[in-house]
């Protein structure tokens, strides 16, 4: 278990960057850059172990209770 201060937050992990060179609508782009669901309850999000191994990880966490359910590697697909 590592202290929270070693990590830095990276936001909603369910947001997927549109592929390069792909024609997309304004709406799709805005959904990627700006729009966030940010709901209460389970939230899949990114954290970087910035004062450590510098790995980005995905964390499933409850935004109401701060409980952490599960962590995933950066390249792991989350069902």
């Amino acid at each position: 278990m590592r202290p929270q201060i070693e990590f830095s937050y990276g936001g909603d992990a369910s947001v997927k960057r549109p592929e390069l060179n792909k024609e997309i609508s304004d709406q799709e782009w805005d959904d990627f850059v700006y729009n966030r669901k940010s709901l209460r309850g389970k939230h899949l999000e990114l954290w970087q172990h910035i004062s450590g191994c510098r790995q980005w990880i995905k964390v499933e966490r409850d935004t109401a209770t701060h409980e952490i359910f599960k962590t995933f590697k950066a390249d792991e697909e989350v069902a």
Binding site: R17, T65, H66, D75
Partner: protein
């Protein structure tokens, strides 16, 4: 001096060590082991302060952390600290303390006039008044209210004490060393678990120090001492006294404040004043006990009214009688314990019990001792102003609504017991939803939210036997789960008195025709009538009641008042207590030193300081430093009496005419390796990178996804799959994270690694027409000619035996090179540069000259790349590839970004060619236009052009590309300046960029 209220040979104080102290200027004596409160009480001092609003006299109500009003200003070791609870402050020799919130003295306090005005000052009176006339609020009322604010006086001196932090992991963290804490700690320790046992008081044992019980055929106190002694010898156990666990945070992290030195006249050398423990525990056992709650009656704030348990503690722990003619007012059996202790020590108490016919072992004992007991009797009001002199008492009907005839009983203290309130703060802080337990009229923890278990009185269990049984077995069970050990510990037998049921009675009705203040919250002067008003006016949610009346918002956080407040609301609103609900418990449980929370990161160490390997040289050569983030950089190298302007001008001019050297170590450096490195750069930067040859550098701009410029810098292809990226000093960390984000999460298919090498390389920029001469001397064996090392070229070389990287890049706009060597050799490189450069009149230059040089060249830096500009705004559109995609490109299509009159960087010259334009000025068309005056742009950077010897500025200007040649005004109302200016090209010097290529 005799202590009239101290008993001989009773208590746990050390009578061999007499301590002298001063209170309100008067000298007293106490003993080692006293608190300030017990020592004052031993001397018969009851008047310690004045209340917040009405300035009513206040004494001691409790004996510990729950104390609502015995708050003093403490003087220790030439320092002073406000708002110290006299009941918690241990006595030391030479202690000095004063009353707070009274003037001129606690005996005669002018503010007490509020007590007579109190009918005008009910709950919420502020909101209803002080509004007429309007201007009086600002000029008279508000300043007056503010002056009246506050309890103690803050010292504005810098704190010289030291505070430490400690980080611990343990299997079981146990809060409280009473019967429950000791039992579970002992059981867990025997199973080999790593245990931390914390006690907020100086003495371990909790209620066992004062309760007349027997455990394992010895007194409770002796049993506790035995257990503590054994725990202390065990290597897997840490026991800490004077240590308050004040917060239960996420993921079973708890924080404890240990008072290391507060009980000493001064902190020992190398010792901290306090130590903050961050403790991550596998299991937490909350054994924080309970706090006696008062019964509310008239004038119940008079000094001499106190909790019955406190009176007992003063007697049994400190040998102090809080009165010689005590009146005990109780609704349960606990009051009898106190009465019996008084009786045993030669003081005859009277007990008023609100119950009709209570029967129990302890009542029988009291009766057999001949204690005077009146059943169905209550205290209606305390009488006496600065000290209780008597009590108005009366019988009370069974339904507790009707009072009998009022009688007056002489007494010198009133010890009150309204039963017990479990200390559930830690459980509640953990997220546990508490539940109301009817049998005890109080909240207890509900279902565990984190890994916490609440035991004993904190869980509403007041039987010692049951407490020991559950605590021993919980300690065993949890430790077994963790360590796998299963060592049997036998639970000692217990002898305790059985208690009868308490009376559900907490507030004495007002007698007809009387209007006594009946206080709920003593420190904030919140009375029953205030709650009534709040409810009458519709402030009905318990949060509204609390906020409107300030109930429970004083420094004691309502430890003795909240539950009674809830009872009152529940009664008036005709709702059950749990439906009223209580306000949230939040850390800290008790006020915690801010110094302790912060620890060692103070003064110069509040943030790290980063220095380049050449720092010592800069210092030796009169560098004046400037903070650049956490780095220190030379701003200029002062010669003689030069000021910043003169020095930086000299340095910049020398670069333009001869050669200068600048420490650029602070620039961020990132090593990028892998077969897909070029592809990564091509996606990160706005320009094309796939065709950069080995041995070449390129300038690049990177955007955020929202199209705003994130950073700029050069990246050099060191070898086939190896690139060296530089970033600005400010953005170094962000750029690295940015690259890692895309590599790990967005494009994991790219085979690239990135690592920060900022600390690995020391960098020196050598700039000026004679820089090539210097370089040639540094690397005599290298061809550094314009052909051998052209603009944006890269070479590796040997600098007098030291491996070096040479980049031909320029920020100053002059012919320039940047030499990097490994950090250890930085100073060597620097000295060599200075040495060989001497012939060419080399001078070091700082950030100020660097700014001048880049500004007059129109090169952008942080003040233009301010997180709000796109490439176009900075005239960097030439670097934006139309062909390929890159991070943030899609955003550049936004209509505001492509607008015809979009802002753009320009140069600004004052018409008089003399007046420097302050940075942060705005450009307007009409300097006399009415406000708000439309702003066309702002001055982002200003310098004194050394090339033309006149002021020159850069500005980000609306429709900048069409504004060249326009005349505007640069306005700085803050500096009272209006400067007529002309808009020119941002490339003021060498617009074709010939010098860098020369």
């Amino acid at each position: 001096m005799s202590q009239d209220f101290r008993l001989d040979s009773v208590g746990l104080i050390n009578r061999d060590k007499k301590l002298s102290f001063k209170f309100n200027g008067k000298k007293y004596f106490g003993y080692e082991g006293d608190t300030l409160a017990s020592a004052l009480l031993a001397n018969g001092v009851h008047l310690v302060g004045r209340s917040f609003k009405y300035h009513r006299p206040r004494g001691f109500f409790g004996a510990g952390v729950d104390e609502p009003y015995a708050i003093v200003q403490l003087y220790r070791n030439n320092e002073t600290e406000p708002n110290i609870k006299a009941t918690e402050q241990e006595l030391f020799d030479g202690l000095e303390a004063k009353s707070v919130n009274c003037w001129p003295s606690v005996n005669f306090d002018i503010g007490a006039i509020n007590n007579f005005l109190k009918i005008f000052l009910p709950a919420g009176f502020y909101y209803k008044t002080f509004m007429w006339p309007k201007s009086f609020w600002y000029r008279i009322y508000e300043p007056f209210i503010r002056k009246a604010a506050g309890l103690g006086v803050a010292s504005t001196k810098h704190d010289k004490e030291r505070y430490e932090h400690k980080y611990e992991y343990c299997d079981l963290l146990i809060a409280g060393s009473g019967p429950s804490g000791l039992s579970s700690a002992y059981a867990a320790a025997k199973n080999g678990a790593k245990v931390i046992l914390a006690e907020d008081k100086p003495r371990f044992g909790g209620s066992l120090l004062t309760d007349d019980v027997n455990i394992g055929n010895q007194s409770g106190k002796d049993w506790a001492e035995g257990i503590i002694a054994e725990l202390k010898t065990m290597p897997n156990v840490v026991v800490k006294n004077r240590s308050q666990i004040f917060g239960y945070y996420d993921h079973n992290m708890l924080v404890m404040s240990e008072k290391v030195s507060d009980h000493l006249p001064k902190t020992k050398k190398y010792h901290p004043n306090k130590r903050l423990w961050y403790i991550r525990a596998k299991e937490v056992l909350i054994s924080s006990g309970s706090i006696e709650r008062p019964i509310v009656f008239g004038n119940n704030d008079t000094p001499g009214v106190m909790l019955s348990s406190a009176a007992k503690e003063y007697l049994k722990v400190y040998g102090v009688l809080v009165g010689k003619n005590p009146l005990i007012f109780t609704n349960n059996d606990s009051g009898y314990e106190t009465a019996i202790e008084f009786q045993k020590h030669g003081v005859q108490p009277t007990v008023l019990d609100s119950r009709k016919n209570p029967e129990s072992e302890i009542i029988d004992e009291a009766k057999s001792l001949g204690i005077n007991i009146k059943n169905s009797y209550v205290v209606v009001a305390a009488q006496g102003y600065k000290k209780v002199k008597s009590a108005d008492v009366a019988s009370i009907s069974d339904d507790k609504k009707q009072l009998g005839k009022i009688e007056n009983i002489k007494c010198d203290c009133i010890c009150v017991s309204g039963f017990w309130t479990p200390s559930i703060h830690l459980a509640s802080q953990s997220g546990n939803k508490t539940k109301f337990k009817e049998e005890i009229d109080a909240f207890v923890p509900g279902i565990s939210k984190q890994q916490e278990t609440t035991l004993g009185a904190a869980n509403g269990v007041f039987s010692l036997e049951e407490t020991l049984q559950t605590s021993f077995s919980k300690g065993s069970e949890l430790s077994k789960k963790i360590t796998g050990n299963d060592n049997e510990v036998s639970i000692p037998n217990v002898v305790e008195k059985k208690f009868s049921k308490h009376d559900k009675f907490w507030c004495v009705p007002l007698p007809a025709g009387k209007n006594y203040k009946r206080f709920l919250d003593f420190q904030n002067d919140v009375a029953v009538s205030d709650i009534e008003i709040a409810l009458k006016e519709g402030y009905r949610s318990i949060e509204h009641v609390k906020r409107y009346t300030t109930l429970g918002m004083a420094t004691d956080q309502g430890k003795t008042s909240n539950l009674n407040g809830l009872q009152l609301v529940s009664e008036i609103e005709n709702k059950i207590v749990p439906a009223v609900g209580h306000t949230t418990f939040r850390p800290p449980y008790t006020p915690i030193s801010i110094g302790a929370i912060v620890g060692r990161e103070v003064g110069k160490h509040s943030k790290p300081t980063r220095k380049s390997p050449m720092h010592a040289w800069h210092e030796k050569n009169n560098a004046v430093f400037v903070d650049a983030g956490v780095w220190l950089r030379p701003r200029y190298y002062k010669r003689g009496n030069e000021n910043l302007f003169e020095g930086s001008k000299r340095e910049a001019k020398n670069v333009r005419t001869n050669v200068g050297v600048c420490d650029v170590t602070t620039l961020g450096k990132i090593d990028i390796k892998g077969p897909d490195a070029a592809e990564l750069l091509n996606r990160v930067y706005t320009n094309a990178w796939l065709k950069l040859p080995v041995g070449k550098a390129r300038y690049g701009v990177m955007l955020r996804e929202d199209g705003i410029v994130m950073d700029d810098g050069t990246t050099t292809r060191i070898s086939e799959n190896h690139y060296h990226m530089t970033t600005t000093t400010a953005q170094a960390a962000n750029v690295l994270s940015h690259l890692e984000y895309y590599l790990q999460l967005v494009w994991p298919e790219l085979n690239v690694n990135v690592v920060s090498t900022t600390e690995q390389w020391a960098g020196a920029a050598i700039a000026g027409p004679k820089s090539r001469n210097v370089l040639q001397k540094l690397f005599p064996n290298l061809d550094v000619s314009n052909e051998g090392l052209p603009f944006m070229g890269y070479l590796e070389g040997d600098l007098f035996g030291v491996k070096a990287r040479i980049f031909r890049i320029s920020f100053s706009g002059e012919l320039a090179y940047e030499v990097n060597v490994e950090s250890d050799n930085g100073n060597f490189m620097w000295e060599k540069i200075m040495e060989v450069g001497e012939d060419f009149k080399i001078q070091p230059y700082g950030t100020e000259a660097l700014s001048t040089l880049r500004i007059e060249m129109g090169h952008v830096a942080g003040s233009e790349l301010d997180g709000r500009t796109i490439p176009y705004d900075n005239s960097l559109e030439g670097l934006v590839s139309k062909k390929k995609d890159f991070i943030g490109k899609r955003s550049l299509q936004r209509s505001a970004f492509t607008a015809e009159d979009r802002q753009k960087i320009v140069g600004v010259v004052p018409l008089d060619k003399k007046t420097s334009i302050p940075e942060g000025s705005h450009l307007v068309k009409d300097d006399k236009a009415p406000l708000p005056n439309p702003k066309l742009g702002h001055i982002s950077a200003s310098c004194w052009s050394v090339e033309y010897d006149n002021p020159f500025s850069l500005a980000i200007l609306k429709d900048g590309k069409n504004m060249i040649g326009e005349k505007l005004f640069a306005m700085s109302p803050l500096k009272n300046k209006v400067i007529p200016v002309e808009i020119v090209s941002s490339h003021y010097v060498d617009p074709k960029g010939e010098r860098v290529r020369s």
